[in-house]
């Protein structure tokens, strides 16, 4: 067992975790933040993407103990004071989600893209999101949403 201190969605927490606990498991089961999803077991699908110290990371590929001291933002922490983040608004406006399962990871990845690149091209958006699988949308409306969010952020 390890003792870890994290800032999750702006809130400081201290917990004991098993050495082998994945960050994704920790977020879902210890913190009950079930917006972070598990879609595969091989770090391929991206449904579990969160921000660790501001960078998008697949939380299933990290141990909770390894991010000790970090600031972690999950999908639950993206909207501020009940106001949706421009990326969330854009996904809604452009029908960038259907079943919603990949959506949290997709949104968190897309937000990080715009931190790195203010006005990405379609090609850059598609390439950035290559690590996030969506089975419903065919990606087209997701690309439209990211472009629209970029114009508003």
């Amino acid at each position: 067992m390890k003792s870890i201190n994290l800032t999750i969605n702006g809130k400081k927490i201290s917990k004991e975790v098993e050495d082998y606990t994945l960050l994704s498991t920790f977020i879902r089961e210890n913190l009950n933040l079930t917006g972070t999803h598990i879609g595969c077991d091989t770090s391929q699908c991206g449904a579990c993407v969160v921000h660790v110290d501001g960078k998008s990371m697949k939380s299933c590929a990290l141990l909770a103990a390894d991010v000790n001291g970090a600031k972690v933002t999950t999908i639950e922490g993206l909207a501020e004071n009940g106001k949706l983040h421009p990326m969330q608004e854009a996904f809604k406006k452009h029908h960038g989600l259907q079943c919603g399962y990949c959506t949290p990871g997709m949104v968190m990845s897309a937000v990080d893209l715009l931190k790195n690149k203010k006005n990405p091209s379609d090609k850059e958006i598609r390439e950035w999101l290559e690590g996030n699988i969506c089975r419903c949308t065919g990606y087209q409306n997701i690309v439209a949403a990211v472009k629209d969010a970029a114009s508003k952020m």
Partner: protein
């Protein structure tokens, strides 16, 4: 009230929860005192089970129990069923092997369910699973679809591994057409096996309440009422009236979550037996192994053609792989969802279709987006392309020449197509794809050293599944009507219950649009309730692009009943004749007067029928209090969406890599309720269909091991695999339902594989099978050039 909600691009009501992480999927549910389950699965494709020793595992830390077929039999739990009876051409019924929820004496695919470990934590359950000793006698597996009939029987009493040998059509008439044909064009096609891959892996949580004796199963289902019916009536888990199935938010289904799986049966039963909640969440590799797969056909097909290009006959001979057992809708998928559609949207006077369905030691195959219709479309559209080339005709002109032109049209096989205008969407697709300038683009690609090809595909579907009388006469075990209930509350808001289920299809929004339009109530005051057998009336779930045509119509009919009753109450309150009351934009009006009541006022009065001014009761004699109406709808016919797709690819001959450069589709879905949502459905279908054509393949090696059992090995299409799709519509409203809608959920997956493959083959000038991976395309090009060299 503003303009009609129908036809508006309304943003989705369901989005906010999903975008903020508040969606509630089965795996997100945690029950007090819950236990965790882990399934032990067969590592062998085919084996006899000699013994299962659970003694060590039972003593392991945290283990509550280890359950096997022995315990299942003690409690008389029935096996899984095949829900659609197919009769072979010799008059015998299909052959269905026993399919126990936990294997008793044999296993028939890698991933087959053998035992369940239940423990206090998931880690303990997994650790204990390693202590269960299963003694297998491994047998030679039967893996390939084409070899199954020549291999040893994998199930006792099922000769040649043949479940049925089914036929459709007039063989003699078709033979005549071939005898008098000027040209016969033949081909052999493989429709590759796919894994549906909904992003949410399956999950189940069983919860037994010893006080009320109610059993609840939370599960990832597209069809909770049917699951309850099957699990009550056939698996004998629990009586239907004390059995509740909840399918909360479900992360995609694509057909793979239509029916109860062994895991659902075992988890529900275990919760009842152990008297504690049991939670099971599938891992992705186990999903690959045990979710039902799709497609997997080998087909020989041929066309009889006259010199002028008129197609006069079609023969189709298909072997369809059912996998290790017959899943619930497995038998209808390659028969009635396939055979009647082999004609495509062509006017062909004679056809004969023979389907042999075989068992192999692979995961069961069942409905996957399109179910039978993609296989039919792939066959006819590849064959039409080849025929046009062999006839020396333009592929577009050859298709047009053979289109059905008059409606209604009785096809020579089964369907009577009510409406359509095939030339309209085909011409529009040619225009939108700029077909006339294709040669110019081809030359530009050639200048860059690339091979450019163009492919066409047209399709017709039979959707709106129902009609019950028709499907039951063809062997369905249940009618496929749909139900709805409109429950007005006293404060004026509305709960709409539907028997369909939304797992990405946006029913919360589309159905609310119908109700808002019909009743003049704002969208925000209308909530859809689905996915809980305790809340809504019995319904038949969501699949086969049926929800709007059948379920949406049931909702519209329930709305009509609300208005009918509302008119009676309004007339009484307004001292008018019910016949003269008009209902418009949420108000009951006495024409040529200022007398009116809003529907909210009527709802209030129906629930609080006290004194209203002069009127002692707002309810006329014989009218009951309350405002709630139920409707069941069973359409008279299927609906027939159709469309034309054009794909252009560019192939790099040095690597074999194929890039979809442009993709154009023009579809006729009848009336559209929410075009934004329809567009999303098309995009998703296209991605899956293009995935089938270029990337996806479930590959078993000769021992029956699934080699492609993770996202490392099974190529899922990614964002950078696609261009921006060009989309347009034509509209001939369906006549089989009052909304005039046809269904749009599967079209993209049906039409796109042949469009892409016809383009690839056009580009490389030689045959290649799906998926046209870089390796296969490169090899095909090399073989072509080697053959040329040899000949020279």
């Amino acid at each position: 009230m503003a303009a009609s909600m129908i036809g508006s691009k309304v943003e989705r009501k369901e989005d906010k929860k999903f975008l903020t992480g508040k969606g509630r999927y089965t795996a997100d549910i945690t029950l007090a005192n819950q236990t965790f389950a882990y399934f032990i699965r067969s590592p062998h494709a085919r084996a006899k089970i000699k013994n299962i020793d659970t003694s060590k595992a039972k003593k392991a830390s945290g283990v509550i129990d280890v359950l096997t077929a022995k315990e299942l039999n003690e409690d008389k739990i029935g096996g899984l069923i095949a829900g659609w009876k197919i009769v072979s051409k010799d008059g015998t019924d299909m052959k269905i092997p026993p399919h126990p929820a936990l294997a008793s004496d044999s296993v028939n695919y890698v991933g087959d369910h053998v035992a369940l470990v239940v423990a206090e934590t998931l880690q303990q359950a997994r650790d204990a699973a390693e202590l269960v000793k299963v003694d297998y006698k491994v047998l030679k597996a039967v893996v390939n679809t084409g070899d199954a009939m020549n291999s040893e029987s994998i199930h006792d009493g099922i000769d040649k591994n043949l479940s049925f040998d089914w036929e459709l059509g007039d063989k003699a008439k078709t033979d005549e057409a071939f005898a008098s044909a000027d040209k016969i064009v033949k081909m052999t096609l493989t429709n590759n096996r796919l894994v549906p891959n909904a992003m949410e892996p399956r999950a189940s949580i069983g919860d037994f309440n010893p006080s009320s004796e109610e059993l609840t199963l939370y599960t990832t289902s597209q069809n909770p009422h049917l699951s309850r019916l099957v699990m009550s009536a056939f698996n004998a888990i629990h009586p239907e009236h004390k059995f509740r199935i909840v399918a909360p938010d479900v992360g995609g289904g694509f057909g793979s979550k239509i029916y109860p799986y062994a895991e659902d049966v075992v988890v529900a039963w275990a919760a009842k037996r152990l008297q504690r909640p049991v939670k099971w969440v599938c891992e992705r590799t186990d999903s690959f192994l045990s979710d039902c797969h799709g497609r997997d056909h080998i087909t020989n097909c041929e066309l009889a053609i006259k010199n002028d290009g008129t197609v006069t006959g079609l023969k189709v001979d298909t072997i369809a792989n059912l996998g290790g057992y017959a899943s619930l809708f497995a038998t209808v998928t390659p028969t009635y969802l396939y055979g009647p559609l082999v004609l495509g949207l062509y006017n062909i006077a004679s056809a004969y279709c023979n389907v042999k369905a075989v068992y192999t030691n692979t995961a069961p195959v069942d409905a996957y987006r399109g179910a039978g219709r993609p296989e039919a479309t792939y066959m006819i559209e590849r064959l039409m392309d080849k025929a046009a080339k062999e006839m020396g005709m333009d592929r577009a002109e050859f298709r047009k020449k053979n289109f059905i032109r008059q409606f209604p049209h009785q096809q020579c096989l089964v369907h009577n197509i009510d409406s359509g205008d095939y030339e309209a969407h085909f011409n529009r697709a040619l225009e939108l794809s700029d077909y006339s300038n294709f040669e110019k683009r081809k030359a530009e690609s050639a200048a860059k050293g690339k091979l450019r090809g163009i492919g066409f595909s047209t399709y017709i579907e039979a959707c709106g599944i129902a009609p019950s009388a028709a499907v039951m006469s063809l062997g369905a075990g249940v009618g496929l009507w749909e139900s709805a209930e409109i429950r007005f509350n006293a404060t004026g808001n509305i709960s709409v219950m539907t028997g369909t289920h939304s797992h990405g299809q946006s029913h919360d929004t589309t159905f609310a649009q119908i109700v808002a339009d019909k009743l003049g109530v704002p969208m925000e005051n209308i909530d859809l309730v689905h996915g809980d057998t305790d809340k809504g009336p019995f319904g038949m779930g969501t699949y086969g692009s049926r929800s709007l045509a059948v379920g949406g119509t049931a909702i519209a009919k329930a709305c009509d009943k609300i208005v009918e009753k509302g008119k009676k109450v309004a007339a009484h309150m307004l001292e008018a004749n019910p016949d003269e009351i008009e209902f418009k934009d949420g108000e009951f009006i006495v024409p040529n007067s200022n007398k009116k009541k809003t529907i909210g006022e009527i709802a209030f009065a129906c629930y609080l029928p006290g004194t209203y001014g002069e009127i002692k009761s707002p309810l006329p004699e014989g009218v009951e209090p309350g405002l709630k109406e139920t409707a069941f709808y069973d359409p008279v016919n299927f609906s027939f969406p159709a469309g034309s797709h054009v794909c252009e690819v560019e192939v790099d001959p040095t690597t074999g890599e194929t890039k979809v450069d442009t993709y154009t589709c023009v579809d006729d879905f009848g009336n559209l309720i929410n075009p934004m949502i329809v567009e999303g459905q098309i995009h998703g279908g296209l991605a899956q269909g293009i995935g089938q054509a270029l990337y996806e393949n479930a590959y078993y090696d000769e021992t029956g091991q699934l080699v492609t059992a993770s996202y490392m090995d099974y190529t899922m299409p990614r964002a950078d695999n696609f261009p921006e799709f060009r989309i347009d519509y034509t509209c001939t409203p369906a006549t089989s339902n009052p909304l005039g809608v046809k269904g749009c959920g599967e079209a993209g997956a049906i039409a796109s594989p042949p469009a892409v493959m016809n383009a690839v083959i056009d580009a490389i000038g030689t045959e290649v099978s799906m998926p046209a991976t870089s390796e296969k395309v490169w090899k095909a090009l090399k073989d072509k050039s080697d053959t040329k060299k040899k000949a020279a």
